[in-house]
């Protein structure tokens, strides 16, 4: 009898030890979401393809090291948020409250990110703020300054002011014959119009290029100055437009040496085709970062020939080449947006290993906070084409970049400012 009681006690003790000691997970879950339907579907498809490749790579190399030294596999769920704020918010709530995912990656669209980031707690530890408390590391949404909306949101997206500043400085130096500029943008897209009117034109003016019809009021080269006048002086279109004859005629009539075309691949191609039809190709063209993708070259390789774009991704290193191949194998394409998803998975792995995560589902809230702190503390991360500097108080990144131009249906590196 005594022996049976002792056995029962021992069994109870062993069970209690397991429970109290905290279960260590064999899988670390992350979540991703982006546009997998609608006009920007390719962005979500590319991101998912690369997240899958990155997770496979982590798992093939043993997984992620947990706090107790054991290794766990990583897994992911990817949701279609359709470039729709309501859907992205619903997914974020689902991931935060219904899953054990420790961190999210996404979303695709800047307008969606602007809404999504707003439902997160603005300042960590502010008990009066009931916003979501889960870290998010964005790969795609690139509009200026979004990560500052919440201390739980981080981005690994390119820094366009720096990119265009360096691009126009280089163009000024290497192409002194290019003097005048003219441009246009898709005004209903916050990223295209914002980057064009706040960043690109100012960078060109700052480095001595002249607006073809004379100086634009209030535009002195300082970021953001006279942005409304920039838009008024340009020839613009909308993302749903299919006819660009008026705009192309205005570009042709301007006779500028350099055209700035700040739009996503879909209208960039429509516009360039019309420009080509009018035989109005300029000496030089500069495009929006988002157009340095496979979509542009699929849509209008001939017309985009020679277009110069600064980009934070090009297959110029062994790692970048490998990711491009893996993305293709998974049915996607690596570009400056989707390639960041690879870097994000690797950043998450490194942070998990650095801050000591158990993966215990009962500690999800606590471990999400640990990962957030770990992300905030990062000073640099390893990028596919070089070291990425974190802007710690803003949750943003300063990524290395190169200048590419379209050559024979490919994006070829024109200049590498890293050297």
């Amino acid at each position: 009898m005594f022996s049976k009681l002792k056995k029962l006690k021992l069994a109870t003790l062993a069970f209690a030890t397991v429970i109290a000691g905290g279960a260590v997970a064999d899988t670390i879950k992350i979540a991703g979401w982006g546009a997998k339907s609608g006009p920007l579907r390719s962005f979500g498809v590319n991101s998912e393809a690369i997240i899958k490749a990155a997770i496979d790579r982590v798992n093939e190399t043993g997984g992620v090291k947990l706090a107790d030294g054991s290794m766990a596999k990583m897994s992911y769920d990817y949701y279609d948020s359709a470039c729709n704020p309501e859907q992205a918010i619903t997914i974020a709530r689902k991931v935060a409250s219904e899953t054990d995912a420790l961190i999210g990656i996404g979303p695709t669209c800047s307008g969606v990110a602007a809404a999504l980031f707003g439902i997160f707690q603005k300042k960590v530890g502010d008990s009066s703020d009931t916003g979501l408390q889960m870290p998010l590391l964005t790969d795609t949404a690139v509009r200026n300054g979004l990560a500052q909306i919440s201390q739980w949101t981080f981005r690994n997206t390119p820094n366009e002011p720096d990119m265009y500043d360096k691009l126009f400085a280089w163009l000024r130096k290497t192409h002194p014959e290019i003097k005048t500029i003219y441009g246009g943008t898709e005004t209903d897209q916050g990223h295209s119009a914002g980057t064009y009117s706040i960043v690109i034109v100012q960078a060109a003016i700052r480095h001595g290029f002249e607006w073809v019809n004379g100086p634009i009021d209030e535009v002195t080269g300082k970021i953001g100055e006279g942005r409304a006048n920039v838009l008024k002086s340009s020839s613009n279109w909308l993302m749903a437009d299919t006819n660009f004859s008026v705009q192309a005629r205005a570009f042709k009539k301007s006779g500028a040496d350099l055209f700035i075309v700040s739009s996503h691949p879909f209208t960039t191609c429509g516009f360039l085709k019309e420009l080509g039809r009018m035989k109005a190709m300029p000496k030089m063209m500069v495009g929006l970062t988002s157009s340095s993708s496979a979509e542009t070259l699929k849509g209008c390789p001939k017309q985009a020939e020679g277009m110069i774009i600064p980009t934070s991704f090009a297959p110029i290193t062994p790692a970048a080449k490998e990711v491009a191949a893996l993305a293709a194998a998974n049915g996607g394409a690596a570009d400056l947006h989707s390639a960041a998803a690879w870097e994000n998975v690797m950043i998450i792995k490194d942070v998990i290993e650095a801050v000591g995560i158990t993966g215990d589902p009962s500690k999800v809230k606590e471990e999400r906070a640990k990962i957030r702190d770990g992300l905030e503390a990062l000073e640099t991360t390893e990028g596919l084409i070089g070291k990425v500097t974190r802007v710690q108080d803003q949750g943003e990144a300063l990524k290395p970049f190169v200048f590419v131009h379209a050559q024979n249906g490919n994006w070829e590196v024109l200049h590498d400012p890293r050297n």
Binding site: K94, G111, K122, T187
Partner: protein, 298 residues
Amino acid sequence: MEFYLGILQTIGFHTLLGLSAYLLLLTGQLSMAQVGFFAIGAYASGILTVIYGLHIFLALGVGAVTASFFAFLVGFPALRIKGLMLVIATIAFSEIVRLYFFNLRWRIEKGGVEVGPDGAQGFREIRYFAANGWEPYQIVSFIWIVVILVIAALWWLDRVKVGSVLRAVGEDELAAQSSGVNLTIVKVSAMTGGGFIAGIAGGLYAHSTTYVDHNSFTILLATFAVAYPILGGLKNVFGTLFAVVFIQGILIEGLRFLGDYRNLLFGLLIIIVMNFYPKGLINIPIFNFSRRTKKGDT
């Protein structure tokens, strides 16, 4: 739990948007202007809480009154046209509103940061709920109290003489006018009332999503607004609610696991429902309360 509460929020303000169109459909007016009123309510109440720091109740009220004022103005020219012409005219109105907000830049500095509408960059950080410590269940409760009040008001309206007058105008304008019904008052009142409800819905939407821009108020949302009562059925006010639950709850959220096939099935299910129940979801036997009640009575 927060996920389900989030879906309930979405269903709540979409139901209000659908009900604003329902009120007009009772009078036979197919209006695409509801999304314009929705946008006015969203921006107005957002500006009031973010820039002026007003309480959400007051901001929503002012937003709804502003939207209803514009609806009142739209109501008069709308009297002169009907059918497809009204659809085109109200689309034009919604586009004017959308493009106005697309160009609206009203930024002030608050706490060291600029806040307010910023044209194509949108209107960020409409965070009244989270910033004031509202828990998700409180937000949902608030939204649904508003929804229930509106449903109750419309239900009651449908059971008094006013409701009969609205439906009489919707059935046959000429006959109603011959019976002494003042078409101007009826149609303009319905437009104003619909604008008020859409204005509240817009305010709740802006504060739930924390961000609005011109892309939030496209023709697609206007189509959804009229699709809800048509798909749900105009027999009574609950048809709209069923349709919103069907679209937002089942088709959009429930089928998310289908990935890319979701949108295909989405359209297919709507076609099937409209074919089998052309008078709306409310006529599906399990939802047909009135018929069941009659059977019970006998």
